[in-house]
């Protein structure tokens, strides 16, 4: 009986055991049928009372004092639906709870909007946590993925001096830089790519590992950002965040594990070098990304001045303040300065003659 009661709470289809239990007890089966019919009827009536949930959302925003977030046309729609909304809310008391929830959804969205992305002060502890959560997956999987995706691949290439931003089907981003070539199966993407030349990867986290095959090497990651420079006989990997496993293609069971701000190199036929510490800004300069890791603001301003050829002044009080963050090649100077300044609770001013002032 308890099992049957539990099935009232489940969303999945009946299991054979539950089905058999109902078959053996016609009275219980009839009760369950009535119950399911009751639920279906209630759902149908709710849908009838609220034919358009979009209008319910708009109505709720209006009622919550956010009419300014609606367009004129939307406000007109809401006004025209006032009668329907009033009746629905009177008829189904829980719709008041749903309206409260929608207002809460709005508040959560606004909080997410305000939240800066990809910019945070990464303390040593945070680096350790980031590294700890990254998972290295078995090499059998790597091997299978590597050889399973050599067909039906989509080639994307850039020539000397070029830059190509590629968004993979899983949302990961690859920047191909100067004579880079990327191969992947766009139709049946299994989080595996092959790369030649130079590329910077920003891999979204997922349960399945992401593997990169490059000359002489295989790199395995979950969610992370790293750069690869390769030629026909060697691959060098520099890790910005997360954790990666780098193995020679002939010795997948003998990888080295890279932590953030480390690099390693594989020469075809040899095992990877032991990880070595690097300065990200220098080691990944070729990617076009900007990396700041507890970098003083005066130093940041110099880098940005060189990159964007614009004057940037930093107030005395801020010049020794340290900031951390990573910016993509397409990010503009205003965005970068504003984002960095946010972490310092500072302001950016634009002066037509003097450029940017951060204070």
């Amino acid at each position: 009986m308890q099992d049957v009661l539990n099935l009232l709470l489940q969303d999945e289809p009946l299991t054979p055991v539950q089905r058999a239990a109902l078959t053996k007890d016609p009275a219980l089966r009839a009760s369950v049928q009535r119950w399911l019919a009751f639920r279906a009827t209630l759902r149908a009536h709710l849908d009838e009372a609220l034919p358009e949930r979009r209008i319910f959302v708009l109505h709720t925003l209006m009622e919550a004092g956010h009419a300014d977030e609606l367009t004129e046309a939307e406000r007109t729609e809401v006004a025209a639906s006032q009668g329907i909304m009033t009746r629905a809310l009177e008829q189904y008391p829980a719709l008041r709870d749903a309206a409260d929830r929608i207002a809460e959804d709005r508040a959560v969205f606004m909080a997410c909007w305000e939240q800066p992305v990809r910019i945070r002060r990464l303390t040593p502890t945070a680096w350790r946590i980031a590294a700890a959560v990254a998972l290295i997956i078995g090499f059998g999987t790597v091997f299978a993925l590597f050889f399973a995706t050599n067909n039906a691949e989509t080639p994307i290439a850039v020539r000397d001096g070029g830059l190509e931003r590629v968004q993979l089907p899983d949302g990961s981003i690859v920047h191909l830089i100067e004579e880079g070539m990327l191969l992947y199966d766009a139709k049946d993407f299994a989080r595996h790519v092959s790369v030649r030349g130079n590329a910077f990867f920003d891999i979204v986290h997922a349960d399945a590992p992401f593997t990169v095959a490059s000359p002489g090497a295989v790199i395995t990651v979950l969610g992370t950002r790293f750069g690869i420079q390769s030629d026909d006989n060697s691959t060098m990997v520099v890790l910005e965040s997360g954790r990666v496993s780098l193995a020679a293609e002939h010795a997948l069971d003998q990888p080295v594990l890279l932590s953030p701000k480390e690099m390693s190199r594989v020469v075809r036929g040899n095992l990877p070098d032991a990880p070595a510490a690097v300065d990200l800004a220098q080691a990944l300069h070729w990617t076009g990304y900007l990396f700041f890791d507890a970098t003083p603001m005066f130093q940041v301003s110099r880098v940005l001045q060189d990159r964007f050829e614009v004057a940037i002044a930093v107030s005395e009080a801020l010049k020794d303040e340290q900031v951390s963050g990573t910016f993509e090649p397409g990010d503009d100077i205003a965005y970068i300065l504003t984002t960095l300044a946010t972490t310092l609770d500072a302001v950016v001013e634009r002066d037509e003659s003097a450029g940017f002032i951060v204070r």
């Binding site: 009661l5 099935l7 709470l9 489940q10 969303d11 999945e12 289809p13 009946l14 089905r19 009275a27 089966r29 009839a30 009760s31 369950v32 049928q33 009535r34 119950w35 399911l36 019919a37 009751f38 639920r39 279906a40 009827t41 209630l42 149908a44 709710l46 979009r54 959302v57 925003l61 977030e69 367009t71 189904y92 008391p93 829980a94 719709l95 709870d97 749903a98 929608i102 959804d105 959560v108 969205f109 606004m110 997410c112 909007w113 305000e114 992305v117 931003r165 968004q167 397409g330 990010d331 205003a334 965005y335 504003t338 984002t339 946010t342 609770d345 500072a346 302001v347 001013e349 634009r350």
Partner: protein
């Protein structure tokens, strides 16, 4: 001349110029805009429904709504409200459609073998008022929210109770209806 106030947030993550460029067909600007928006949406949906596999679909569908509506967005400064509404609409569609693939719970084979008296309960023949009269107002709210599409976890938060207490209310409601309609 002060242009950007940073107290609070990096406003220019979605500045009007970027939106305008995207509206005017600048593919790079549009790509950048959607990429930045994607992070906000992912964070929003994860906060509302957890790290479910459906998150990717919700994010993509919302981005599609924004993408399709971008050209008719008259004021680039209103992107935030525009994106917020798109995300809320998508979330509501998710709740509304949550049951659609699971209708097999309403076992068609079992229904066809029901007696005429039983089949009178099927579909729209159920007298909701009669059924509601048996329920406490609290149980009724839970059932309405459930059929609206919320999960028990959401309902528990909305009604300041626990998930197990909400489920218990549903079981009691079933028992009440069973006793009432079997006699």
């Amino acid at each position: 001349m002060r242009q950007k106030s940073l107290a609070g947030m990096p406003q220019n993550r979605f500045d009007a110029l970027l939106v305008q460029r995207a509206q005017q067909g600048d593919a790079r600007a549009r790509d950048q805009l959607l990429r930045r928006l994607q992070a906000v949406l992912r964070s929003f949906f994860v906060k509302r429904i957890g790290r479910a596999p459906v998150i990717d679909d919700l994010v993509q569908n919302t981005l599609l709504r924004v993408h399709n509506g971008l050209e008719v967005l008259k004021d680039p400064e209103r992107l935030k409200a525009f994106a917020m509404k798109a995300a809320l609409f998508e979330l509501q569609d998710y709740y509304r459609g949550r049951y659609s693939p699971k209708e097999v719970l309403y076992d068609p084979h079992a229904v066809t073998t029901a007696s005429p008296a039983q089949s009178a309960w099927a579909g729209s023949q159920v007298d909701l008022e009669r059924a509601f009269a048996l329920l406490t107002p609290h149980a009724r709210r839970i059932l309405e929210l459930r059929e609206y599409g919320y999960r028990y976890k959401d309902i528990a938060q909305m009604l300041s109770t626990t998930e197990s207490a909400a489920k218990m209310q549903v079981k009691r409601a079933f028992e009440k209806m069973r006793r009432a309609f079997c006699t």
